[in-house]
């Protein structure tokens, strides 16, 4: 591969990884907003907010769902982007249609299931595409190509950060749209009255949703390997160090790479028990994250779902991450961990030819890898 091609491939690899990280995080934000809003705003009416739904015999996995008064349910699907081509649009709508059947909702954390009298299907999308999606749904429905027994409802989301308080704003799309059939809620608290008739948006500020986000960390989508790898690196791996290893860092060898042996089943059990007790952790996601670290030359696979992670304080060696709009001359760069992991992964995967894949030099010399410590 020519150096220019390698550099371009490296940039694309890094961008894709960082995009997956930020996209997932935004969905976590949105789910956390609704969890905070419905839990605090409807304490009497909300039967259960299911952050990790697996609904019905077909095990449908929408982004989240909520059951009210044991009689009314809402299934939520968050889409950051929406396709423009008819075939792709139909595929997205097919997902919503799959929710258009009588489905039992979770009624409590013990797993009691209740089939509500009715439920609606909310599609949370950006205002950039809401009009287009609304128009397409109308065309398909009026043309007889699409039929919903439950109401599909478009809710737009955007972030308002220009004032003193930053908030996510959720607004029912004012054009062609379905209605919440939430008649089981008190009239003045009905979503249809507030968001529909009164056309008032819900605003969920950062300080309102962040506690939920920090407690939950994940959402129902499988986290991208980079996202979970960062979580493990920042919160979990240190606790696998022995007392001697911790002393070594404390006493003056802060960048020494310390090997940690990880067994998948033990790690997943530990995550469920200690770190993410509310989340649904899938073994496959954790395995993918550990494999990601192998590809980033920060771990090695020992076989039989066992890994050795080369854990270290890579503060001095962190990759830079660019912030700002593409095309802007100046980017704000910050040395941070997601950038470091992404760069290492892409560098290792694409080889040394990539122009930007140069290992940052430090006072101590070239960044060491797992192999260097042997």
């Amino acid at each position: 591969m020519a150096p220019e091609q390698a550099a371009a491939a490296f940039r694309e690899c890094r961008r894709n990884l960082i995009d997956s990280f930020t996209t997932y995080d935004q969905v976590v934000d949105i789910v956390s907003c609704w969890q905070a809003l419905l839990s605090h705003g409807y304490p009497q009416e909300l039967t259960y907010f299911d952050r990790y739904p697996e609904l019905g015999p077909k095990v449908l996995t929408p982004d989240f769902s909520a059951l009210f008064m044991r009689r009314y349910g809402i299934i939520f699907e968050v889409k950051r982007t929406f396709p423009r081509e008819l075939v792709a649009i139909k595929k997205e709508l097919a997902q919503l249609l799959s929710y258009d059947v009588s489905i039992p909702f979770k009624a409590n954390s013990e797993g009691e299931l209740v089939s509500p009298e009715t439920h609606d299907i909310v599609l949370i999308i950006s205002p950039d595409v809401s009009s287009q999606v609304s128009t397409k749904i109308r065309e398909l429905i009026q043309g007889g190509d699409l039929h919903f027994d439950r109401n599909p409802i478009i809710v737009e989301y955007f972030f308002e950060g220009s004032g003193r308080v930053s908030s996510y704003v959720f607004r029912k799309f004012p054009g062609y749209n379905g209605s919440f059939r939430d008649l089981s809620l008190p009239h003045d608290r009905r979503l249809e009255i507030i968001m529909g008739e009164q056309a008032k948006p819900f605003r969920v500020s950062v300080s309102q949703f962040m506690p939920t986000k920090l407690k939950e960390v994940l959402c129902n989508d499988q986290p991208p390997p980079l996202y979970l790898a960062v979580y493990l690196w920042n919160n979990v791996f240190y606790n696998f160090l022995t007392t001697d290893q911790r002393d070594m860092w404390r006493q003056g060898y802060p960048t020494k790479i310390l090997p940690i042996n990880i067994e998948l089943s033990a790690l997943v059990a530990g995550l469920k028990r200690d770190y993410l007790p509310l989340a649904r952790i899938r073994q496959a996601a954790v395995r993918e994250s550990l494999s990601f670290l192998v590809e980033a030359a920060l771990a090695e696979y020992l076989g039989e779902d066992r890994w050795r992670v080369g854990y270290s304080n890579r503060t001095m060696l962190l990759g830079t991450r660019r912030f700002g709009e593409p095309g802007e001359g100046e980017h704000d760069t910050i040395r941070e961990s997601a950038g470091m992991l992404a760069e290492r992964y892409c560098r290792t995967r694409l080889g040394a030819q990539a122009d930007e894949a140069v290992v940052p030099r430090t006072k101590k010399g070239r960044q060491s890898t797992l192999e260097d410590q042997a």
């Binding site: 995080d25 220009s162 308080v165 008032k200 950062v206 309102q208 962040m210 960062v230 606790n239």
Partner: protein
């Protein structure tokens, strides 16, 4: 420590002494020797520090402790081996006294041995017991309050001899020369600087009662004057800052297996996070934490970063969704040492604010309905 000889002269039979017996000795020596200095450092340790010292010694250090009535006397030796030193090594040796309050977990060490022993010996020795031992940092406002109390309680004027300030934004120190302390702090506020060190005299009835020095890292020196004021006034005031912060920063780790958060809030009197540039400056300040690493989840329009302190594995989520607040939310590992460092990092490289426990408030549907 020359004071020991003076103290022993008073009662040659005694084998154990009281801290207060050092006061006349300090005063007497300072009257004769203009270069005399007693250096103090206040720090936090849940366990009595001598218990730690006797348990293990950091590489290159050795110590012997002697218990007295209300203090411990520690004979400390450090050998520094380095190729760039003549003969490949040098030795630092000296004595220090440590006293404090076990209930509060706040201790003060003092020595009149030279500055090299204080900085390279004593302070370094204490720091190597991290995170069990934590340094203490006072904000500009806390320093000003110390001077307010000194001035009011003793009915004295605090005359600054020299002070060092730093800008939150630019490199390089700012020196403030001679003036009343109120002018110093007004200057700091006007220039948006933080105060780092102050050499001062307490003056009452045109007489210098005390000549001393106070730094934001809870080190302070006695040069001359009424040494008793150091023990009766300065030590308690610095200890109070340490106790308050130690208490606020203690037991903040999130319990494993539980969805419980124990956030700490930094509040500002003005809007300090109004633009993307402000957010970037906060993140860059956090990214500068020695032996720390940040992960940026969001930079604009709101800030959310995760920060790991590799000194002891403490980790935090730090975010701001309001222009006058920063929230620090500890994860499953969190030490006083780490919170102290992070708070000081924000104070120095971003902006100083006041610390508060973040209490959750009940939300209702109306709180979410927008206009």
């Amino acid at each position: 420590m020359r004071e020991l000889q003076e103290v022993r002269k008073i009662d040659r039979e005694a084998t154990k002494f009281e801290l207060k017996s050092f006061i006349p000795a300090m005063q007497a020596i300072s009257a004769k020797d203009s270069r005399y200095r007693v250096s103090f450092v206040t720090f936090i340790s849940k366990r009595p520090p001598t218990e730690l010292f006797n348990e293990w010694s950091p590489d290159g250090f050795s110590q012997k402790t002697q218990e007295h009535v209300d203090f411990s006397l520690v004979n400390l030796r450090r050998i520094i081996k380095r190729a760039d030193i003549e003969d490949g090594q040098r030795e630092i040796q000296g004595k220090f006294i440590v006293f404090g309050n076990q209930k509060a977990g706040v201790w003060t060490a003092l020595t009149s041995d030279d500055a090299d022993f204080f900085n390279t010996g004593l302070v370094r020795f204490l720091e190597l017991y991290r995170p069990e031992v934590s340094r203490v940092y006072a904000s500009t406002d806390e320093m000003r309050k110390i001077f307010d109390i000194l001035s009011q309680d003793l009915r004295t004027e605090v005359a600054v001899q020299k002070a060092v300030l730093y800008s939150h934004l630019e490199e390089g120190e700012v020196t403030f020369r001679k003036g009343l302390y109120r002018r110093l702090f007004a200057f700091a506020e006007a220039e948006d600087d933080y105060v780092d060190k102050v050499e001062f005299k307490l003056i009452g009835n045109r007489e210098t009662l005390l000549h001393a020095f106070l730094a934001r890292d809870a080190t302070f020196y006695y040069y001359a004057g009424r040494a008793g004021l150091i023990f009766s006034k300065i030590v308690p005031l610095v200890v109070e800052v340490a106790t308050r912060k130690g208490r606020l920063f203690s037991n903040r780790a999130r319990p494993r297996g539980e969805a419980v958060l124990n956030p700490i809030q930094i509040e500002y009197e003005k809007d300090v996070l109004m633009s993307p540039g402000d957010n970037l400056r906060l993140v860059r300040a956090l990214a500068k934490l020695d032996r720390g690493a940040v992960t940026v989840y969001h930079l604009n329009p709101y800030v959310h970063v995760s920060l790991v302190d590799f000194v002891d594995g403490s980790s935090f989520n730090i975010y701001s969704g309001e222009s006058d607040k920063i929230l620090i939310v500890p994860n499953f590992n969190c030490t006083v040492h780490s919170l102290m460092r992070i708070h000081e990092q924000i104070n120095r490289d971003f902006q100083e604010g006041s610390l508060k426990e973040s209490a959750p408030h009940d939300l209702t549907l109306e709180d979410f309905i927008g206009a």
